[in-house]
Symmetry: C2
Subunit: 240 residues, 2 copies
């Protein structure tokens, strides 16, 4: 947690969040009104947060990772726009601040070495709000463009075939030996890391809390690290 | 700065970094051996950090934002691989840790609202190590794929035409009214924000410390915020 996130929590009257996330920050919640809810209830959670804030309560809505990357900031602003809530610092206006955090793919990348060290694309495989044809088009073009690709939400209990299909699509533009880094629960006690290849990634264990990073055509493996070169080697002698 | 970054600095004997970044964290550097250097000397900096670490010093190499996104982690691992330095925890091995941080585009996104709230691609316009034809291919395919696009290093003193050219390429697949958010020096005292459109972005002021975020086909503006919808509106009534 960043110092800015900590002070925002300290200032809040009410704290809302997915219960698993709130459990992780319990010591910062003493004396606050707490509203915890379950995973799929994010629409209710964002709506309640807005209602409370509009009623004058200093309200903190907690998100895992960075709130602007596949998380709650977007939904809050979608609701604000739909309800035409005036924003700003004056009276009768809602003062909304998004506090950036460390997003899951930079945590995963730090554990793997430096796999994101060149242009990259981030794609969620969740079909809950996005049709699969839209996702496959992104996968195909990102692979053609030679982006390093970070996959969010690779699998869930009710959605199990999209991950392997995504690997196949990427494999049309990228070799079978391309390094693939798979990180589950990055930076948590149960963190698990698997450095594999595009050919073998299909049999790897992945779930909703997994980030998968697929190298570009120049990404290589050194010992247990995954490295995407920026291009220094083409211009400089790095060995001495 | 995250708590993990703070404790890594506290443990270090030697701290290396670009002088402007080190000046920002001066109070954490008391009693340390300091090696500051200028912007383009990153190869020397990374090499010296490795030499010091291999000689047994606890060494911290400071990077702006997140060290794995267009920053120092990649270069350090490129050097480690080129020099075949053994990694790990035992004796005669180098124990390297990358500490993730808040990267510039999530800072910029937080200021703008929620522009990155769906799949996105990050592209650097720097031609120092990447040929322009490789960059334009990425711009074209990312635009076709309807990724939100974050541009890093849009302009430098010696490189001034690529930014407008990038906007033109993106404009072949995306409308002139597409929202574009431009953030200079995110989260610093001299922070500047400009919310404009793809049509008007070419005349905006940008430099090496600017992040430009170009919306996807569904990104919209509400007051001074830039919002990329996740898709809730297609399934739920958000207005009540």
């Amino acid at each position: 947690m960043t110092p800015r996130a900590k002070s925002a929590l300290a200032e809040a009257d009410v704290v809302l969040g997915y219960k698993t996330y709130l459990a992780q920050i319990e010591k910062h919640l003493q004396g606050k009104e707490i509203r915890s809810s379950t995973m799929t209830k994010e629409l209710d959670r964002a709506g309640s947060a807005l209602d409370l804030a509009c009623a004058g309560k200093v309200t903190a809505l907690v998100s895992g990772g960075d709130p602007g990357i596949y998380a709650m900031a977007g939904l809050v602003f979608e609701l604000i726009a739909a309800r035409e809530i005036p924003l700003g610092k004056g009276p009768d206006k809602l003062n909304v601040k998004v506090i950036p955090g460390v997003t899951a793919f930079t945590c995963a990348a730090a554990i793997l070495g430096a796999p994101l060290n060149h242009d990259f694309a981030s794609i969620s495989l969740s079909t809950r709000l996005t049709p699969w044809e839209v996702i496959t088009k992104k996968l195909d073009l990102a692979a053609q463009a030679d982006f390093v690709i970070a996959l969010y939400n690779p699998k869930s209990r009710g959605r199990d075939w999209q991950f392997n299909e995504a690997l196949k699509i990427i494999g049309e533009s990228r070799g079978p030996q391309t390094p693939v880094g798979i990180v589950q629960k990055a930076s948590r006690p149960s963190e698990a890391v698997n450095l594999t290849t595009l050919k073998d990634a299909a049999s790897a264990e992945v779930d909703m809390q997994t980030v998968v990073i697929i190298g570009n055509s120049r990404t290589y493996r050194y010992l247990d690290k995954m490295i995407t070169p920026r291009g220094y080697k083409d211009k400089y002698d790095l060995s001495s």
